[in-house]
Amino acid sequence: MSTLVKTMALAFNHGRLTVICALLGVLVLTSVFAPWIAPYGEAQVFPEPFAPWSPEHWLGTDQIGRDILTRLLYGTRNSILIALLATVLAFVIGGIFGLIAAILGGVLDQLLARLTDVLMAIPSLIFALMLLSIFGSTIWNLIVVIAVLESTRVFRLARSVSYGVVVQDYVEVARLRGERLPWIMLREVAPNITAPMLSEFGLRFCFVFLTIAALSFLGVGVQPPTADLGSMVRENANLIQFARFDLRAGITPLVPAIVIALITVSVNALVDWFLLSDGDTPNG
């Protein structure tokens, strides 16, 4: 009986993994090939604004007459790319400082830890709003601001998981052998903390993705005419009030929001699966 249940649980997990991977695959492929798939140009304007769904414009057009399906494809591409860049940058900054803090220890370690404590005492959306008001909302400012704010959390994790590694004998041996800091960081410590860092990467990506979507939705993130999922929701929000007359028009502003949700849900689910298979406790 229990073996049957286990087999079913495993099959279910496998099935779930297939669904997640298929979903993510479709999303990533459409975003990579957006310029070739999209029926029109990213900022191409048609004469009729707020056109209903039709064979020419599958999801209609937006407030100045741009094809929404095209904007959606480009928007997914831009949103994923920006969030990915910000997350990678956060991991580079946070990872480097985290490893250095753990390996060198002492005053530097304490100083960096207290600094991140202060930065983390302010909610990151509020901090990002403040910094963007100072530097202005360009895509590169957005990426750098989010990356620096998120790097505090990466730093925390990298530092705490490295603590367990730096006391190992092989690190001591490398030190006595006279290896320099970059070697110890990259060749001795980094390979041993990849598993927790990888799952953290998924979670951080989701968080960054949602933060950027929120900022763009608020109008201080990605600026027009660049298509972006968060700002698309804002631009088309007025259509909702016509839902009683044309339900499809009412749903249109929700479509980019649903794409955002699909991406975060599937990445989260992938991380969950990874953690479960890593922890050797299926279906916990």
């Binding site: 404590d117 202060v118 930065l119 005492a121 302010i122 909610p123 990151s124 959306l125 509020i126 901090f127 709003l129 403040m130 910094l131 963007l132 008001s133 100072i134 530097f135 202005g136 989701c206 949602l210 979507a213 929120a214 939705f217 608020l218 109008g219 201080v220 968060g230 929701v233 929000a237 909702i240 009030q241 016509f242 839902a243 009683r244 339900l247 009412g250 749903i251 502003p253 929700l254 929001a257 649903i258 955002i260 949700a261 975060t264 849900v265 989260n268």
Partner: protein, 326 residues
């Protein structure tokens, strides 16, 4: 008891230091402004005298720490300076005090956040307990999936879905929450229904998930095993044996989520055009009205820090081990 008050006092002191450093960070961020923003604020046609007067008002000739202490002392007395908007290049100053902009908005936000907290905290705790009591049943699983979905959705998806359902398709509540102080209470509440509902869904999902995790963590302890072996009912184990130990994690969960509410409130206020401090901050960021942004950031960060501090103090005070020091 002495040991306990000592710990609490230490924690409070740490909180004050954090607040101070946060204020330094928020003030210091303004120093990152590029070169001459006086000209940028006033516009290209501003005369030499206007720009000079504006610079003098901002005391840009003073060293940074002098300006910081001035700013801090004034802020402590409730004076957050003058807004940047409303300044004309002619030198005619129509700008308003930041306090007058922030104060009425703040009471609106506190009302919305308070209403949300009053609904979501009892509901989330109740559902969290129910999930632990009926662990592994369909109820627990359904709840788990709903929550997992709700926390992965952006706040505005939930808000717009509610508008689509309850304001557009079935017009039960208004989609715009443009409340004003002279409005009747029932009218005001009906306009606040949808923003409060969206925030409740977001917060509740987080809170319930964390409550459930904290309780399940305690359920795995050896003393619970003992209670089980004694033959006690699951209800008695949860309510009598686990609950006293759960207050600390639950207080942390509540404070953490109320702090999360601060972030959610910004997005939800913009969706529903609710005249709160979150929307004010977003508008100020768009128009680069730095003093207003600073004040809003200070309010948000301060609330966040105080809430976390409160959670820590409650956790310390309700820890049965610290109440009876050996």
């Amino acid at each position: 008891m002495i040991a306990l008050s000592k710990i609490v006092a230490g924690r409070l002191l740490l909180g004050i230091v954090t607040l101070l450093i946060t204020s330094m960070v928020i003030f210091g961020a303004m120093e990152l402004l590029p070169g001459d923003f006086a000209q940028a604020v006033l516009g290209q046609s501003a005369t030499e005298e206007t720009v000079r007067a504006f610079r003098a008002e901002l005391q840009l000739d003073q060293p940074v720490f002098v300006r910081y202490f001035d700013w801090l002392l004034n802020a402590l007395q409730g004076d957050f300076g003058q807004s940047f908007s409303g300044r004309a290049s002619s030198g005619y100053d129509r700008s308003r005090a930041v306090v007058d902009l922030v104060a009425p908005r703040m009471s609106n936000t506190i009302l919305l956040a308070g209403l949300t907290a009053a609904i979501s905290v009892p509901l989330a705790l109740g559902l969290g307990f129910a999930a632990v009591l009926y662990r592994g049943t369909w109820f627990d699983r359904a709840l788990n999936w709903t929550v997992l979905g709700a926390i992965s959705f952006p706040e505005f998806l939930i808000a717009y879905a509610l508008i689509l359902l309850l304001a557009s398709l079935f017009p039960v509540f208004p989609a715009l929450a443009n409340v004003s102080p002279d409005m009747a209470w029932d009218e005001r509440l009906s306009r606040m229904a949808l923003p409060a509902a969206s925030l409740t869904i977001v917060i509740m999902a987080h809170m319930m998930r964390m409550t459930r995790a904290a309780l399940n963590d305690l359920m795995a302890r050896p003393y619970v095993e003992t209670a089980k072996l004694k033959g006690l009912s699951r209800r008695r184990i949860v309510l009598v044996h686990v609950l006293p130990n759960a207050w600390a994690p639950i207080a942390t969960v509540i404070a953490f989520n109320l702090a999360y509410l601060i972030v959610g409130v910004v997005v939800v206020e913009v969706v529903f055009a609710y005249p709160g401090i979150g929307q004010l901050m977003v508008d100020a960021v768009t128009s680069r009205d730095i003093p207003v942004v600073q004040t809003c950031a200070l309010v948000f960060a301060g609330t966040y820090i105080v809430l976390n501090l409160l959670a820590d103090v409650i956790a310390i005070m309700t820890n049965p081990r610290l109440l009876h020091p050996k």
